[in-house]
């Protein structure tokens, strides 16, 4: 990790460009270790009914709030009204005004409902929230969200939990070219190369959950993802060579025996 490479979202600085979800780990202890291995500084959480049986462990017992910023999501919301309500509940729980805004349009694909997403973004921005909307990989719509005041846009690489990687790199590239706010690729990562590809293209960060939590060894995968994100970022900054159809020799012909 290099100190000079800082990602800034809504005035908040991040040295890690990897954002990690807290769902689906085998247990909280593994999650805690995986989060540490990932090097992440911001983790997503959901807002749900409290467990009234206090003998059970709580997620927050395993998240050091001095190390991690919480990013509450509105997962499971299918309308703008619902998402706005959950964002406000999250603000009340967390006393922070950041939200990963999800408004889902379809149960099987978990693709966003753009119309409702834009509506919710406008309401929450007006209400003082820092809104990070999870959106389609649609350059026109990403721009609309940005114009509506989103602090970052988070296009999906592929459906949530699918592990299919970056399905439409060219549309993500267009989003990156046009955006004036940070672009976080959210969802779809299956393994390290997917994360690297997003970062090599110039994505400002990647948000993932299942790729780490669902791996056979989540802690090892978390470390792998940290390295993939850093490698991809460095390669982007270094500037890759252009692709060519023919070879160009790395070794000079000069000095060969005549």
């Amino acid at each position: 990790m290099r100190g000079s490479d800082i990602l800034t979202i809504a005035g908040k600085q991040f040295r890690s460009r990897l954002f990690v979800g807290t769902g689906k780990y085998p247990d909280f202890a593994i999650m805690e270790k995986a989060l540490a291995a990932s090097g992440t500084e911001m983790v997503t959480v959901a807002v749900r009914r409290v467990n009234l049986d206090r003998t059970q462990e709580s997620l927050l017992d395993y998240i050091d709030l001095k190390k991690y910023t919480l990013l509450p999501n509105t997962a499971g919301c299918y309308t703008a009204d619902d998402a706005v309500k959950y964002a406000r509940l999250a603000r009340e729980v967390g006393m922070s005004n950041w939200v990963k805004l999800e408004v889902i349009g379809d149960q099987r694909t978990l693709f966003p409902d753009n119309e409702e997403l834009l509506k919710a973004t406008k309401i929450l921005v007006k209400d003082g929230f820092v809104v990070l909307p999870y959106t389609n990989d649609d350059p026109v719509f990403a721009k609309k969200l940005e114009d509506a005041g989103a602090a970052a846009v988070m296009p999906l690489g592929a459906p949530i939990g699918s592990g299919l990687g970056i399905r439409n790199p060219h549309t993500i590239a267009i989003i990156l070219q046009n955006a004036r706010v940070p672009v976080i690729v959210d969802a779809g990562v299956g393994t390290t190369s997917d994360a690297s590809i997003a970062m090599e293209m110039g994505a400002d960060g990647v948000l993932m959950n299942t790729a780490i939590a669902g791996a056979k060894d989540p802690v090892k995968m978390a470390e792998a993802m940290r390295k993939a994100i850093e490698a991809g970022r460095l390669a982007y900054e270094a500037g890759r060579i252009p692709k060519k159809a023919y070879a160009s020799a790395s070794t000079t012909m000069e000095g060969m025996i005549e």
Binding site: V45, A46, R48, L52, N73, E92, V93
Partner: protein, 66 residues
């Protein structure tokens, strides 16, 4: 009186405030959000908002999620 708490019926003392309910549930120390019927009750109003019979109360917190 009876209230509906997180989807289940619960018997509580008449006129119980949100603050007293959180005490009874041993949730005071936890980060939660409280919604009574359709309104979010702000933290600073927990002690003054009294519940009424039949109220629907939701107490939420952060749970695992992506």
């Amino acid at each position: 009186m009876e209230i509906r708490l997180n989807g289940k019926t619960r018997e509580v003392a008449d006129g119980m405030t949100v603050s007293q309910l959180l005490d009874e549930l041993k949730l005071q120390a936890l980060r939660v959000a409280v919604q009574v019927n359709t309104d979010i009750v702000k933290r600073e109003r927990y002690a003054e908002v009294a519940l009424r019979s039949g109220d629907t109360v939701e107490i939420l917190t952060f749970m695992s999620g992506g």
